[in-house]
Every structure is written in C-alpha cells, then in structure tokens.
C-alpha cells in the first residue's frame, strides 16, 4: 500500500504533457467520440429479424417505391453501443444538480416509469371501445380530480400536449367565452418578464400583444395595468410565481380589476412547484392556468419533451374547454365524452347546450405523462406535496442568501424568493458575461442555470435548485458558483474559453445559423456544394 499514488499520476510521466497528448482513436478513456449512423451503418444491415412477407399480389396502387431512401441500419449490438455512447455526452438530472430556472428539473422517480409501462396503459389504443379501457380512463379522471383539488378550480382540460399548448387552450377558452358574450376583444396583456410562449400563444390565437410594465420590485405594476384595461382587452397572461422568482402579491387585485373590466385572467402555472399544496390559484381569481406535468409533477423532460400541459379552468371558462374529456357517472363508469356524445351528455348533466371549442389534438392527451403524474401525487400525498413546495422554496432562498454577496441579486432586497433565485451580470469584470459563468459551471460538473431569461434583468441568471437536492449537494454547488463568480469578477482569461473539460469546447452558433446544415449529406455532395 505504501506505493499507492493518491494523485492518480506518476509524477515522472509529466502529467501536463500527457493531458494534451493525442490518442490514436481521438477518444480519451471514458470520453468516447461517436460517428453518425450515416457514417457507420449501411442500407443492407438490419438489427431486426422479421418473418418473411407472405406471397401476395400487391395492392399498392402502382405507387411502389423505386428509389432508395438512404436509411442506414445497424445490428443490435452496434445500435446499443451507438446510443449508449451518445448518451454519455449528455448532462442529466441523474448526474447532478440541474439548476435551470423556470424548468423545475427535479428527480424523476423510477416508479413512475414502471407504472407508465404497464401493458394496461402503454399497450392500449386510443380508439378501443370504452368498456375495454376503464382503468386507463380512470387514471385520466383521477388525475383531473386531483389537479382540480390542488388548484381550487372548477374544471380541467387534460388534452394539451405541453405548457405552450395549454396556454393555447386557455386563450382559446377566453376567446370562445368572449364570442359567446357576443364580444370581440383583440388585445392580450403580457408582462415583459413573461416566457416567450405567452406572447407567441396569444399571437398564434390571433390576438395583439401588449406589454404590462413591472415595478422596480420585479412585480406587475398594478396601477399601470389598471390604466390599460378597457373594452379592447380580452385578458392578461400573468406568471405566478413570476419568472423573477417572486410571488405576485397583488394577484387577487389584478384578477378583480381585469374581471371588472370584462376580461379574463390567464395564469402561467409553470412555477406551480413553489406553491403546490400551499396556495390554490382558484382562490386568486384566476380563470385558466396550465400545469406543466413535466415540471411540478416530475415527468421526465426527455431531452426536450414530451411534456403535458393540463389547464385548470374557472366556472366561467369550463364550458368552453376542449373535447374529448372524461367524466365518471354515479354507476362508477368513466365515460370518454367525444363529439358523438358531448351534446347529449352536457344537456343531461349540466343542463346546457354544448359550448366546447372543439378538439386540440387527435386523441386524449399525454396518457404516458398522466400515469407518471398521478403516481407522483399519490406517492407524495397531501403532506408530501406541501413539503415539496416548502423545500423547493427553502433551497432557493438558501442559494440566494449564499450567493448575494458575490453576485448581484436585483430583487433580493424586496424579500425572500420563491422556488428560484435571480441574479444579474452586474459587477463582473469588463468583457465577462453571464455566458462565461455558465460555461465555467460546466467545467465544475454542473448544468448551468437559465441564462438571459427573464429579459427584464441584464444578463439574467435564474437558479432553480428544486426540492430534490440535499443540503450537501447545494453546498457544493454554492461553492462552485462562488468560485466561478470570483473568476468572472477577477477577469480570469481561462474562463472566457471555458468549458475546457466537456465533450466539446464552445460551439460556433453563428456558423450554424449562417450556413445551416440540418441534415447529413454524403461527403462528396457537401464538397460539391460549398
């Protein structure tokens, strides 16, 4: 044991020189380069054995394929290796803290994965007869029930496919409700701090978008908002807790003012994690709010999706929500109310004619996310969900107070934050920016926080640790942040070229946008078309 070299290097080897020495493969131990499937596969190879096709007279209408498609195949071992190698070039929650503000990157429980894959949920067709899918419909109905209970709202639309799709659902409800009142209002008010999907959604649904100013405290300016309300304003879209990580204290007053002016209140519920089990949006006068199941309710982000964005609705907007939806009758049967049954069902049960704005997507929404989210809710229960919000807020405030002496925290003076802590690039050395801090964090083994959002803060850094981080994990992250911040304030040139230890150095995004290469082409074709 006496000869054991704790550093891992033999001093005589010249560690510094070895670190730069090229290898034959281009790989560096566990850092493995991987070519594209188009470079390693070919059209004759397949990783799947199939029974031979029966001999029949083809009925393809004379449109049989004659050209090659150009799809490479790999055997199963090659396929497993290709994607396993690729996976190792990704950062993920499973590897460490993922403090991406506004994204709620919490642990994804594996029980939920197991449940979603049960054949009774994963292997049923959306158009199977309803009596053959009672368990699946019960999952949708039960989740709907708990989302309503958790938010204190009147109804919920389960079909939206993600947060932005939920926003669209809510905004369409508002438009339909106005139309039912015989009114045409053309403007939606959105704060400047809002996520880009809010104005994009309002525009997608045919509204003009106007900004609501913010106070110096980072909240909606109630006086300015009131001054803008009027007969042309269809509604407001407000994020609460907002994207500066602050609770909109005046939310109820905002709702009352908007309602008094004949408008509706859309709440972006992306940040529901901060208040789940503690505050019910229904008590704040909100008319519609989407819930990102892929944030608060822990369904995995999957490298960009899929998500799920159910929208809870007030009594005023519920009648306009999309088809289909589920309903359980007294006999215990769960019905799927589609176009065929909706009119009769609503007349019988609600005593009113059908007012739904129609379908938003082909089938019934993101079943695979519903099972996961329901498993999450049941696992936590009433006590656990409240603890989720409290720990998420505690963790964020701990980060805020542990970093405010080294980084500018523009709203820290106005009180505690909710689930995320916001910093600006004020005070960094000349020429150093938020981006440099982000890339420095990569070398420290972290995914960076959200950068340059919200737009209301210069060089914004939005840190959301979530409740699934231990104190030890937070302390190490805080240490890393402090170290990187110190380098950015001291103007350490090595930080400008970070990351140094990631699978790639800084990538040239300008080149990518100026000469877009979006699909792979055979190398000779690339050369022929420079």
């Amino acid at each position: 044991m006496s000869g054991l070299n704790q550093s891992g290097w033999k001093p005589a080897m010249g560690a510094a020189e070895m670190a730069d020495a090229p290898t034959y493969t281009g790989n560096r131990a566990l850092m493995l380069e991987e070519a594209l499937i188009f470079e390693i596969g070919d059209g004759a190879t397949s990783g799947i054995d199939l029974a031979p096709a029966p001999k029949v007279t083809g009925r393809l209408g004379g449109l049989g394929r004659s050209h090659k498609i150009g799809l490479p195949g790999l055997s199963e071992p090659e396929t497993v290796r290709h994607y396993t190698r690729l996976s190792r070039q990704n950062y993920a929650i499973d590897l460490g803290l993922f403090p991406l503000g506004s994204c709620t990157m919490k642990h994804n429980p594996r029980l939920n994965e197991k449940v979603a894959r049960m054949a009774g949920f994963a292997d049923v067709h959306p158009l199977q007869p309803k009596e053959t899918v009672q368990g699946a419909l019960a999952v949708i109905n039960d989740l709907a029930h708990w989302l309503i209970a958790l938010t204190g709202m009147h109804g919920v639309a389960m079909t939206p496919k993600a947060g932005a799709h939920g926003e669209l659902c809510g905004i369409l409800c508002i438009k339909a409700a106005l139309a039912a009142r015989g009114e045409h209002r053309s403007v939606i008010l959105v704060p400047e701090s809002a996520h880009g999907t809010n104005p994009a959604t309002a525009a997608f649904a045919g509204f003009a978008v106007e900004n609501i100013p913010a106070t110096s405290e980072g909240r909606v300016d109630l006086t300015a908002l009131k001054a803008r309300l009027g007969p042309d304003v269809a509604g407001v879209m407000i994020t609460n807790p907002n994207t500066c990580g602050l609770f909109e204290r005046d939310m109820k007053h905002i709702s009352d003012a908007v309602h008094a002016a004949g408008g509706y209140v859309y709440c972006d519920g992306a940040n529901f994690n901060a208040i789940v089990g503690k505050v019910r949006p229904g008590d704040l006068g909100i008319d519609a709010m989407h819930i990102n199941l892929h944030k608060t309710f822990s369904t995995p982000h999957g490298g960009g999706g899929p998500g799920s964005g159910p929208v809870v609705l007030s009594a005023a907007l519920s009648p306009f929500g999309p088809l289909p939806y589920t309903a359980r009758t007294a006999d215990g049967v769960v019905h799927l109310i589609e176009e065929a049954d909706a009119e009769a069902f609503e007349r019988e049960h609600f005593g009113a004619p059908l007012q739904s704005f129609g379908r938003m997507t082909a089938f019934h929404g993101q079943m695979g996310m519903f099972t996961r989210a329901l498993a999450y809710i049941m696992s936590h229960g009433a006590d656990g969900l409240k603890q989720v919000a409290e720990d998420a807020v505690l963790n964020a405030n701990y980060v805020l107070r542990s970093l405010e002496d080294v980084l500018d925290a523009p709203f820290a003076h106005s009180g505690p934050c909710m689930h995320e802590a916001l910093f600006s690039d004020d005070g960094l050395a000349e020429g150093f920016s938020t981006l440099d801090i982000a890339k420095g964090l990569i070398d420290e083994g972290y995914h960076p926080m959200t950068v340059y959002f919200p737009l209301v803060v210069h060089g914004a850094m939005l840190i959301e640790p979530t409740e699934t981080e231990s104190k030890a994990a937070l302390d190490q992250f805080i240490g890393a942040m402090r170290a990187v911040a110190a380098r950015a304030k001291a103007g350490d040139p090595a930080l400008k070229s970070a990351p140094h230890f990631a699978p790639r150095r800084r990538l040239d995004e300008t080149l990518a946008a100026r000469k877009p290469v979006l699909v792979w082409k055979e190398p000779d074709r690339v050369e022929a078309n420079p």
């Binding site: 007279t57 490479p72 880009g196 994009a200 997608f204 505690l394």
Partner: protein, 452 residues
C-alpha cells in the same frame, strides 16, 4: 418521504442561515387570504412504492391490452413490435432526464441524435429538411397549414376528405380563431378519393391543399397531379403521413412534389400509449426553412474545430421572437423522436422495406379473407396495411360485440364520423406484423357469426 433528501435538522440550519424563523417567513409575500390552511381536501397522506404500484396494477388490469388479443385498430395509431433495445436505450438517464439541449457542450448526445432524426425524417418523406419534432401528427398538420398561410399570404386551405377527422377537427378549432377558411368534406365509401373535386377547387386564393397519404380509409393515390395543379396556382401541397412504415413500400410524398410533409411518428418506437405522447414529424423544402415551426438542430464546429451540433435558426422561435415567432411550441417530443430514430436505425433501409412488405402482405391476406364473409364488402382497390370494409350492420355495435368476445376488431367509421349515416357500416381494419394468421381467422369467424 423518499424523494425529499432534506432532513429536519438541515431545514432548521438552512432557515437559520437565511435568517428566517420559520418556513412560513419565506412565504411572506403570499397574502394571508390566499394561503391554504390545512391539507388538500380528500388527498391521502404520502404512500409507499408498494402501495402506489399495487393501485396502478389494479387499474391496468381493467384494460384490454393490445398484445393479449387479436388486434386490428389503426386510424392514426398503429401497433408495431418495438424491439426491446429501444425502450432500454430511451431509459438511459442521460437521455431521459436531460433538458432541451440549450447548453450544447454538454448535450451532444441529444443534439447528435436530433441531427440523425432530422436526416432520417427528411429522407423518409423525400424532403430537404426536417425539424426536431412536434407534439403529434394532428398539431403538426395545423402548423403546416399555418406555415403555408405565411408563405403564400393566403388563408384558404383545402383539406381532403381523406384527412383523419381528428386532424380536421384540430384545424377547424384553430381556424375558427385565426379566421382561416377551410374547405373540408366527409369521405365516401368508395375506392376512389375526392381528388377530382380537389383539383376543381384549387384556385388563385388557395394557400394549400392537405392530403393524407395513405388516406383515412387506407387508399393510396398519386399526389403528383394535385401537386402540379397546386403549384400552377401558387398554392402548396401538404402531405400528411399517419403511418410512416408505409413509406418503406410506397413512394415518398416529396418525390411526388409535396412542399411540406407532416406525420405521426408513433408507429416507430413509441407504442400505442392510449393516444400519447406521440411524435409529430415535420419536413419541407429547403426554401421554406425560415417559416418552419419548432426546434432545429444544426451542425457546426467547436473552438478546436471538432464537429458538433447546436440548436439553430432560433430567430424563428418563441424564446427569441415572442409574438412574432412562427409557432408557440417550446417543449416538443424529444424522447419519442429518440425512440423513433433508434427503431429506424435498427430497421435500416432493408428492415423498413421488409417490415413494410410484411405489413402489406398480411393486410392483403386479411382483406381477402374478410371479403369472403357474406355481407362484407372491401372498399379499397389500393391500400398499405389498413383498409375499409363495409358490413351489413352498424359497425360500431359490432366492435363492442367483438370486444366482448376478446377481439379488438378495428375502428368503426361511426366512432370517427358520428352522425354520418352513410358511413355507419364502415369499419377500418389495420393489419401489422404483430397480427398472426390465427388472429385474422378469429376476426373473420367472429365477424361472420355476429353478422349472420
């Protein structure tokens, strides 16, 4: 609580470090009247993994799983065999628990996969470029109509009556609010499509023609004539593919002149999942690139000149352009795109072609067998793996009776087109590689008995 690492002493220590006496101090900005006192009504306390799993197992048993029965449903969602390695690979935590690849240096796995996916989709559809996925086929279809409107600066779309009725409904919902004008129709139980009427309807105000290929009744038609007529009038042809496996056997829409091709990618890698999550495929000609919705992954180099990938052309997207973005989409269907891409890599060109011919062969055998039943008429001349038959009885009722006998017998047109008397006896039958000769026989025998 197994998912919450903080201990009670740690919570106290952290509160002390913050300078707060209690956790409620941190919620001081929440007005008292907005605070929920007491637990959520009716919600039980936290539950063990055993208890939750038991609850779901009970619910799962109440459903008839496709694999346990002769199964013939399609209509935009198909049961294909998914190789075991697909599900294994997409559960790698580095894929499953990553976010959108906004920090490309530590997201090359996702980005390279997306670049490969985009290339596979573009080639399959016969297009120049494809994006990194949409929610599903139906929303991709509306996005394509909306994109055609931006390109042509016109707002009149002609939707073929062979387009999936749910896709039509989604477009109708949106058009009601955007003011777009849609021309739509109900399909006829006939071997020929409505392409004659469509050709007649295209004029100088048409923004786009939307044709499903193969269509909702399974019919396959040449799109080149419609493409030519559309282009003559400055309109775009949008092709919609709800069964991408078909493109292993038949020509791609791009080859026939389609300008935008969208589709549902669920068939490859994703599974039935009771309707979602699925994966929307979106491809087009390169000249329309800047009007495309959704994320795009592009190739570039890093500071050392090594090839790498980034999200690019984001000046089309909501996080940069806000109300001027081409779409409001943010979260897409990345993990399903990965499943699609892995499945297609396992198949390769040869595998996809063999799979397609196996599907077609089984479907032809099934069609021939069912057509022998007295009272059953085969509607299609052409089809891939799904065709329409006409029964001598209401097909929706027959479907319930078949289910009671353990056969999941197809999708009735009555379910898809409620209130359309002329379609009431129509039944869509999808036959993929998972269907056996015995399954076909079980369907035929039971159908014959129920129709007698």
């Amino acid at each position: 609580m197994r998912y919450l690492p903080l201990t009670q002493p740690e919570r106290h220590a952290m509160l002390a470090a913050i300078g707060a006496a209690t956790i409620d101090d941190l919620f001081a900005d929440v007005p008292a009247e907005a605070r929920l006192e007491g637990p959520i009504a009716g919600l039980p306390m936290h539950a063990s993994e055993i208890a939750v799993e038991r609850h779901f197992s009970g619910l799962a048993r109440k459903n008839m799983a496709a694999s346990d029965h002769p199964f013939f449903l399609g209509a935009g969602a198909y049961k294909h065999h998914i190789p075991a390695s697909v599900d294994h690979l997409i559960q790698r935590g580095e894929f499953l628990t990553a976010y959108t690849p906004y920090q490309p240096e530590i997201a090359q796995g996702t980005l390279q996969m997306l670049f490969e996916f985009q290339t596979q989709v573009a080639r399959l559809f016969g297009c120049d470029v494809a994006n990194a996925s949409m929610y599903d086929g139906s929303t991709a279809c509306w996005e394509a109509i909306s994109m055609a409107g931006r390109i042509t600066k016109r707002n009149k779309a002609i939707l073929s009556s062979g387009l999936h009725p749910h896709y039509v409904s989604v477009a109708r919902t949106m058009a009601r609010f955007t003011g777009d004008i849609l021309q739509t129709g109900i399909p006829q139980l006939a071997a020929t499509t409505d392409s004659a009427q469509i050709l007649a309807a295209i004029d100088g105000e048409t923004s786009c023609v939307v044709i499903q290929y193969p269509d909702i009744l399974g019919r396959i038609e040449d799109l080149s004539v419609i493409a030519a007529k559309a282009h003559e009038h400055g309109a775009l042809l949008i092709a919609v593919v709800t069964e991408p496996v078909a493109l292993g056997a038949i020509k791609s829409p791009g080859e026939m002149g389609a300008d935008i091709v969208v589709g549902e990618g669920q068939s490859l890698g994703v599974g039935l999942q009771f309707g979602g999550p699925y994966v929307g495929l979106f491809a087009c000609k390169e000249k329309y690139l800047r009007q495309m919705p959704g994320r795009l992954c592009g190739q570039t180099v890093d500071a050392e000149g090594k090839r790498g990938f980034v999200l690019t052309l984001s000046t089309r997207e909501q996080h940069i352009r806000r109300e001027k973005a081409t779409s409001n989409i943010c979260t897409n269907s990345g993990l399903c795109a990965l499943a699609f891409s892995i499945h297609l890599t396992l198949l390769g060109e040869k595998g996809l072609r063999d799979l397609a011919m196996l599907n077609h062969g089984m479907a032809v055998q099934a069609a021939e067998r069912l057509a022998q039943i007295p009272g059953v008429g085969l509607i299609n001349d052409s089809f891939f793996n799904e065709f329409t038959i006409e029964l001598n009885k209401n097909a929706r009722e027959i479907i319930h009776q078949l289910a009671a006998r353990g056969v999941l017998g197809g999708v009735s047109l009555g379910r898809l087109y409620p209130g359309e008397a002329a379609l009431e006896n129509g039944l869509l039958i999808a036959v993929t590689e998972v269907v056996t000769a015995q399954d076909i026989e079980a369907l035929a025998v039971n159908l014959q008995e129920l129709m007698a």
